[in-house]
Amino acid sequence: MGNLRRLVLDVLKPAEPTIVQLVQALADLEGVDGVNISIYEIDRLVENAKITLEGNHLNYEKVARIIEEYGGAIHSIDEVAAGKVLIEDVDTPQD
């Protein structure tokens, strides 16, 4: 099975625990080289986060488990990349 290199997730999570704790917990996972979490919408109790993970062997199940453990719900998987090299989304004339 091809190794998962990039995951971009749309997550709804409670304000507490903060994204500082979540990002560190995700970064501690095996196979993860780096994580970025950015908040694009804040509600009174919850916030919407875009979580981007890159690594050499990302384990989606483990990533999802950590996010759920911190109270988050994955709404969608917005981008994935796998294989020997990281391929970026390519602009086509239709775009």
């Binding site: 709804l12 409670p14 507490e16 009174r44 109790l45 919850v46 759920e68 911190y70 109270g71 988050g72």
Partner: protein
């Protein structure tokens, strides 16, 4: 993340988890509030017990200790039960509200666990604070044999109560970043008023 090895490592891991839960559930603030409020209750109730015994002419240390201990236990149990029930209900409501907002069952997440741990910590603080504060005030009565005269124990216990009240408010003053002495004096007055009013009971 490496798994900690050995007893010390596991203890440190538990402590770390507990601190994290405490931060998620905002335990420190409410525990501090309960501690100050109930220790204050404990000390003032014990002033009442001491003055009641003194005014009623009780001159046996053992009687004062027994009534004092029974009162401390009742206050401890009342604090423990009361805080457990109210805090559990409050936390459940908060979690349910968060679950509605996030459309997720949070019971098995660290938010749910933090909420359950918070209930236990707060209940323990609420029960132990008045119990321990009352026991400290009673200490001179336990040592009544050493002083010879029980009146010395009464006076020492009341002085200890007043010092405790002062210390408690100084602690609150420290938290609020205000003057320690100014804060301390306010509760000292409460103690003195309580002693004076109880004293009037005896002068018919």
């Amino acid at each position: 993340m490496d798994e900690p090895s050995g007893l010390l490592g596991r203890l440190s891991q538990h402590f770390h988890t507990l601190r994290e839960y405490s931060r998620i559930a905002g335990v420190a603030e409410i525990a501090r509030r309960y501690m100050a409020m109930n220790a204050f209750d404990g000390v003032l109730t014990m002033i009442g017990v001491l003055m009641g015994n003194y005014v009623a002419g009780v001159r046996s240390a053992s009687v004062v200790i027994h009534t004092g201990m029974a009162t401390s236990i009742a206050m401890g149990v009342s604090g423990l039960w009361g805080a457990y029930l109210t805090e559990a209900a409050e936390r459940k409501r908060e979690l349910a509200e968060l679950e509605r907002a996030s459309l997720t069952d949070l019971g098995q997440t660290r938010i749910g666990r933090a909420s359950r741990v918070a209930v236990i910590i707060v209940a323990l603080v609420d029960g132990l604070a008045p119990f321990v504060a009352a026991l400290i005030v009673l200490l001179p009565l336990f040592a009544a044999g050493l002083f010879g005269n029980i009146l010395v124990s009464y006076v020492l216990a009341l002085v200890l109560a007043l010092v405790g009240l002062f210390g408690l408010e100084a602690f609150l003053g420290h938290i609020s970043g205000r003057s320690l002495v100014g804060y301390g004096l306010r509760t000292l007055v409460a103690g003195i008023v309580s002693i004076a009013l109880s004293f009037l009971l005896g002068t018919e």
